[in-house]
Each structure stands twice: as structure tokens, then as C-alpha cells.
């Protein structure tokens, strides 16, 4: 159950922005914690909510370290001097090489700071495996001209899922995730894109015929319409893709004796994504909180948990002392990744 209301989130969102600006970005770490706590606290499973326990100071440290790499990289990129550009590329390459490690650290930080009924989550994925799925398999995916990419994507998703734990209990996929399901999702995506492109090409030729009736200054409006529509639909189709993977994974997720099911309508997702885009643009970004809540609410509400009455009380905590570094979390934020299921 997701009890968050857009108006409540808007207040948190705008105060976060204002304080972040006034503190020249320092508050952003606290803003992140507030944001996550808002979403977690309003997610209620069986009468109890989730909690996010991260320490803002650690997030701040992580962000500062990450910024120390990313900002020089971006600045040097803009320079005309070839040598400086090379340094920028070197930094970028280094970040790329470290990415699988960053993913592991980010997942650890994120999950270990997520708590439900007093028990923390965890991520036990090994570094080596991370490099295998994120580096090797991505290369395989691209080298095969994208033909094997769905498999790479499946392996990555599976890696994140099976190495996540709630206390001592690992998450599992039952039945195991299959390659062909992922091929299905990718094919759907391409199918949608094909239909979309076809439709817009037709629209484009129709509009150029019409545009000859109008003075020349207005032709750019006619050519802009298909372009804008294309971008909007593309964003919506991407959301559908993400939702399809979400549904696929959650339908097969098990946690000890708990099983999950997920049922969402892709057309509804498409509509929410499209209307969200419209809302954001119309409001110059100020209705973003509403858009976020709408999508999250629908996606989270689509998950059902099935369990027996006693099973839910028998999860055990994993009390080995684990505190992961937060640099990964910081780097993630700056570079814009969003991991986790």
C-alpha cells in the first residue's frame, strides 16, 4: 500500500530544492534522505512501513568525492585544448572501468539502509560477478549487434535480485528468470518504436503538405510537431519498457516463504508516462512531484505479497557488522544512475 500524497511530497520537494540552493548544494544529502524516507515511510506492507536509515553526512562525503572527479571531467570536456580533452576522456574511462564496483557499493549502501520491521536488507553480490555481468556481458551484448543484449540485461537484473537479502533470507526468482521473457520485453519495445516511427513519418508528410499553404516563417512549427511528439512517445515507451521488466521480475520474486505477484497494465503505464510529461512541461517542472507520485503509486500498488500468518514474523536479522562506504552512493547520484528493484 502506498499512502503518499502528491501535495505532501510537493512540500518536501520544494523545501528540499530551496534549502539545497541556499546551502550551495550541501543540503542535497539531507534532501535525499528526506525524499527517500518520505517514499519508504509511506510504503506500507501488512500494516508496517519501510524506513530509510542512511546518515546524510556519509552521503555528503560520497558526493563531495564524486564531484571531485566529475566536475573536472565535465569542465575539461568543454575546453578546446586537445590535451585537456584527453584528460577528461581518461577520467571518464576510469569511471567506466569502476562502474561495476560502484554498482555493488551503491546497492549495498542502499539496501543496508533500508529497514522493515526492525530488520535491515542487504546486498551480497560479489565484485567479480558484478564485473562479469556489467562489463563482460555488456560487451557481448554490443558486439553481437544487440542480439544478445537481452540476455546481458537479464543477467544483470538477476544478479541484483538474487543477491539482495532481507535479513538472513535471500530473494529468489522462482521460476528462474528466463532469457525469452526478456527478449519478449525488448521486442515489444522495438515493435512500439516501429509503429510510432511509422505513424509519425506519415504525420510528417501530411503536415509538410499542409505547411505549403502557410508563410515560410511557420514551416518550422510544422516540422517541430512530429519531432516533439516523437520525443514524448519515446519517453513513454521507455517507461513501458521499465514497467514491463518490473512486472516480470516481481511476478517471479520469492523471499523465503513469501511470494510476490505483480499485475500492471502497460497501456496505463503509457498513459501515465505521457500525461506526466505533459504535466511537467506545462508547469515548467513544478508539477514534477505530482508526476513522480502518480507513477510510483501505480507501480507499487501493483505488487501483492502472499504469505502465511506466521511466516512473516520469522525473518531473522543479519547482524554481522557491515557498513559500506558511501562514495558509491555519491557517485551514483551525480552521474544519475538509479539502481535497485
Amino acid at each position: 500500500m502506498f499512502t503518499a500524497r502528491a501535495r505532501d511530497y510537493f512540500k518536501i520537494w520544494i523545501v528540499n530544492w530551496a534549502l539545497t540552493i541556499l546551502t550551495l548544494g550541501i543540503y542535497s544529502a539531507w534532501a535525499k534522505v528526506r525524499r527517500n524516507r518520505f517514499f519508504y515511510n509511506h510504503t506500507i506492507i501488512d500494516g508496517h512501513n519501510l524506513e530509510y536509515t542512511a546518515d546524510p553526512i556519509r552521503i555528503l562525503k560520497g558526493r563531495i568525492i564524486a564531484a571531485a572527479f566529475v566536475i573536472p571531467m565535465v569542465v575539461l570536456e568543454q575546453m578546446q585544448d586537445l590535451q585537456l580533452k584527453l584528460i577528461s576522456n581518461a577520467i571518464y574511462f576510469m569511471i567506466l572501468m569502476l562502474l561495476p564496483a560502484v554498482i555493488v557499493m551503491a546497492m549495498r549502501f542502499s539496501l543496508r539502509n533500508t529497514e522493515y520491521r526492525g530488520i535491515r536488507f542487504n546486498f551480497e553480490g560479489k565484485m567479480g560477478k558484478s564485473y562479469l555481468v556489467y562489463m563482460l556481458w555488456t560487451i557481448i551484448g554490443s558486439v553481437s549487434m544487440g542480439l544478445l543484449f537481452p540476455i546481458a540485461y537479464k543477467k544483470q537484473t538477476e544478479y541484483l535480485l538474487v543477491n539482495s537479502h532481507f535479513g538472513q533470507s535471500p530473494f529468489q526468482a522462482k521460476p528462474p528468470l528466463l532469457d525469452r521473457h526478456f527478449y519478449g520485453v525488448f521486442l515489444l519495445f522495438f515493435l512500439e518504436m516501429a509503429v510510432l516511427s511509422g505513424g509519425l513519418l506519415a504525420l510528417n508528410s501530411l503536415l509538410s503538405d499542409i505547411s505549403t499553404e502557410f508563410p515560410i516563417e511557420y514551416t518550422f512549427i510544422f516540422s517541430a510537431i512530429p519531432f516533439v511528439l516523437f520525443v514524448a512517445f519515446f519517453i513513454a515507451v521507455t517507461s513501458v519498457f521499465r514497467a514491463a521488466v518490473f512486472e516480470l521480475v516481481w511476478s517471479q520474486t520469492h523471499l523465503s516463504t513469501l511470494s510476490f505477484s505483480c499485475d500492471l497494465s502497460k497501456s496505463r503505464i503509457f498513459w501515465i508516462a505521457l500525461s506526466n510529461l505533459f504535466l511537467r512541461v506545462i508547469s515548467l517542472g513544478f508539477l514534477s512531484p505530482l508526476a513522480t507520485i502518480r507513477m510510483k503509486k501505480y507501480m507499487l500498488s501493483s505488487i501483492q505479497v502472499e504469505t502465511t500468518a506466521t511466516a512473516k514474523n520469522h525473518f531473522l536479522a543479519d547482524n554481522r557488522d557491515n557498513q559500506s562506504g558511501s562514495t558509491a552512493e555519491g557517485l551514483d547520484d551525480l552521474v544519475g544512475f538509479d539502481f535497485g528493484i
Binding site: 505532501d8 508496517h48 530488520i119 508563410p215 521507455t238 531473522l316 536479522a317 547482524n319
Partner: protein, 349 residues
């Protein structure tokens, strides 16, 4: 003394057990678990999670234990009385009051506006000042190559005309300020696609089209346009524009750090484009001012500049764009405005 009812989690298993927490007037909390055992929690024994909207609040103590209660008003009231967790409560308070939310909204809007209106131009100015003129040189030469490839053809101007204008050019630039390593050179080109135009490239190369020369009636008209264009070169407008673009994309990508707002790409490009055009307008005004200074010094009447501007405008038939409201989308200020400003500065003759 206040009594809170809630759930207890022991941090070892996921079982929830009913429990109570007494809040005493001395600032001590007494925890009573399901078995009835009492435990005293002094301020350093416990920590209260910051409030979050209307969701239950947590008091953490012991080894991963927590007490969760829905009586958040009572707890907050107690904390306020005993002055705990001021900072978090302050922020929470702000988020609850629409007054503070409105203030935040204004801060954000003002900030974004300020960045685009002032922050970026100021930084661009700074960065451009640090760039050597070789940057201008490089930029200009590249542009010239491109233009020669795409739009320009060899001039059809007679040798006599060319000599005349070259001489006029030399005379004019002798009176104008220049930068080190940035010599001014005049080029003639035929450009049927572009029409009548005079272009100033940052490398100091000035290009005039045959059609432009044809429009001229007096030498002073040529000089005033020249001064305007040289103004662009001297004030390094092209370089500033490039620096501004770079800064704009940098800032935009920093502001859009939020991964959930992918719409921004479109909105930003449109906004950026419009901003770029408005920067172009302020540059044009600066170049006009440069020309006006020159004309004052050389005692050239306003009519010289005004007439050629009008003729240029007519030759391009940009009448449609001149409609009110469309100014924001065009890169030149309305010609009528420019003319009015020039006449006001120099006095009509």
C-alpha cells in the same frame, strides 16, 4: 507524564509485539515491553527518528531495537518541550506550513532565473577574458572556411570598387580600437542566397556581400555599418556566445541531476534556444553603441546608419517578424527600436 502505545521490534526477528513508552517530565523515557519489563532510557540511550508527515514515529534504543507509535503529536509535543532534535523538527515544520513552502518556491524560481539572467553571462565574461585572442582567431578562420564552402562565391565587384572600399576600410579601422594579434581584414564575396549582408568574424575578418555594396548610397553608410561589425569583433561577441553555450549546457546538465525528470531535455533545449537568441540581441545593442561612439567622434550623422539599416531591413523583407511579441524569438532587436535608439543618441539631422 504521557503514555504512548505502539509496537516493539527487537531487531533480531521480524515479529512485532505490542508495547508502551512512558514519557516522564524529567526527560526520561520508560519502555515497557510485552512481558511487562520496564527499562529506563536516558536521552543518550535513545534516538528519535525525525518526523515525516503523518507517518508513525520511531524511537530507537538498545541493540537495534525500536518502538513505533502513531501518537506523533504527543511525541512531538514532548520533544519540543525537552528541546530535542531541533534541526529536523525545524525542517519538518517548514514542510508543513504552506507559508514556508511558498517562500521555498520563490527561492527556487528566483535562483533559476538569476542563474540564466546574470550568473551565466557574468561567468562567460570572466572565462572569455581569460581566453587568449588565438581562440577568436581560430573560431573566425574555421567559420570563414565553412562559409566559403557553403554559401559564398567569388565577388563580382570591379577592381575599382574593391580598391575604393579597401581604402575606406583602412581609413575607418585606423580610428577604431583593436586587440593584439587580431588584425581587421576586409573580404568581398558574392552570396545570392544570403542577400545584402555584412559579417564580422571573430578573427577580425569582415565580409561584405556584393548585394550589400549595391545597397549603399554614401561612404558614411558603409562606415557606420563597418563600425557596428567591428564592435562585434572587438567585444569578442562570438567567443562569448560560444562560452555561454558551453556554460548553459553545463548548468543545465547539473540542474537536471534528478533522474526521474527526463522531460527536461526538451524543455531545456527550447529554453536554451530562446535564451541564446536574447543574448544575441544584447550583443547587437552593444555593437550599435560601439558604432554610435564612432559616429559621434567622426561627426557622422545618424541618418547614415539609419538609412542603410532601413534599406537592409526592406531588402530582407523581415516585416513579418517585426510584429509585436515575436521580438523575443528573433536574434536582432526590432529595427524600429534600433533606429529610434540611434537617432536619440546622435540626434536626428
Amino acid at each position: 507524564m504521557t503514555l504512548l502505545h505502539g509496537q516493539h521490534f527487537n531487531g533480531q526477528d521480524s515479529q512485532s509485539r505490542p508495547a508502551q513508552m512512558e514519557l516522564t517530565d524529567q526527560g526520561i523515557m520508560r519502555f515497557k515491553d510485552a512481558t511487562g519489563t520496564l527499562r529506563s532510557l536516558y536521552p543518550h540511550d535513545r534516538s528519535v527518528s525525525p518526523p515525516m508527515g503523518n507517518t508513525p514515529m520511531r524511537i530507537r534504543f538498545g541493540e537495534g531495537e525500536q518502538f513505533v507509535t502513531e501518537q506523533i503529536e504527543d511525541l512531538q509535543h514532548y520533544l519540543a518541550k525537552h528541546e530535542e532534535g531541533r534541526l529536523e523538527r525545524g525542517v519538518h515544520h517548514m514542510e508543513q506550513r504552506w507559508r514556508w513552502v511558498t517562500v521555498s518556491l520563490l527561492v527556487v524560481v528566483a535562483f533559476i532565473w538569476g542563474i540564466f539572467q546574470y550568473g551565466i553571462p557574468w561567468t562567460a565574461q570572466l572565462v572569455t577574458a581569460m581566453l587568449p585572442t588565438s581562440a577568436d582567431q581560430h573560431l573566425g578562420k574555421q567559420s570563414l572556411k565553412l562559409l566559403d564552402y557553403l554559401a559564398f562565391k567569388k565577388t563580382h565587384l570591379s577592381d575599382k570598387d574593391q580598391t575604393h572600399y579597401q581604402k575606406l576600410f583602412q581609413q575607418t579601422v585606423a580610428t577604431l580600437p583593436k586587440r593584439e594579434h587580431l588584425p581587421y581584414t576586409l573580404h568581398f564575396r558574392s552570396a545570392p542566397k544570403i542577400g545584402a549582408n555584412a559579417l564580422a568574424l571573430p578573427s577580425g575578418d569582415m565580409i561584405v556581400t556584393d548585394a550589400f555594396i549595391k545597397l549603399l548610397k554614401t561612404d558614411q553608410e558603409f562606415q557606420s555599418v563597418l563600425a557596428h561589425e567591428i564592435g562585434h569583433i572587438y567585444q569578442r561577441h562570438s567567443v562569448k556566445l560560444v562560452v555561454r553555450s558551453a556554460l548553459l549546457s553545463l548548468t543545465a546538465s547539473m540542474l537536471i541531476g534528478d533522474p526521474s525528470s527526463s522531460f527536461n531535455d526538451i524543455a531545456m533545449s527550447a529554453g536554451l534556444m530562446v535564451q541564446q537568441l536574447s543574448y544575441g540581441r544584447s550583443f547587437e545593442s552593444q555593437a550599435d553603441q560601439f558604432a554610435i561612439t564612432f559616429m559621434k567622434a567622426q561627426q557622422i550623422p545618424a541618418s547614415a546608419f539609419v538609412n542603410i539599416l532601413s534599406r537592409l531591413e526592406q531588402s530582407h523583407r523581415v516585416k513579418k517578424k517585426e510584429q509585436q511579441g515575436l521580438e523575443y524569438f528573433s536574434s536582432h532587436p526590432l529595427t524600429s527600436k534600433r533606429i529610434a535608439h540611434i537617432e536619440q543618441a546622435l540626434g536626428t539631422h
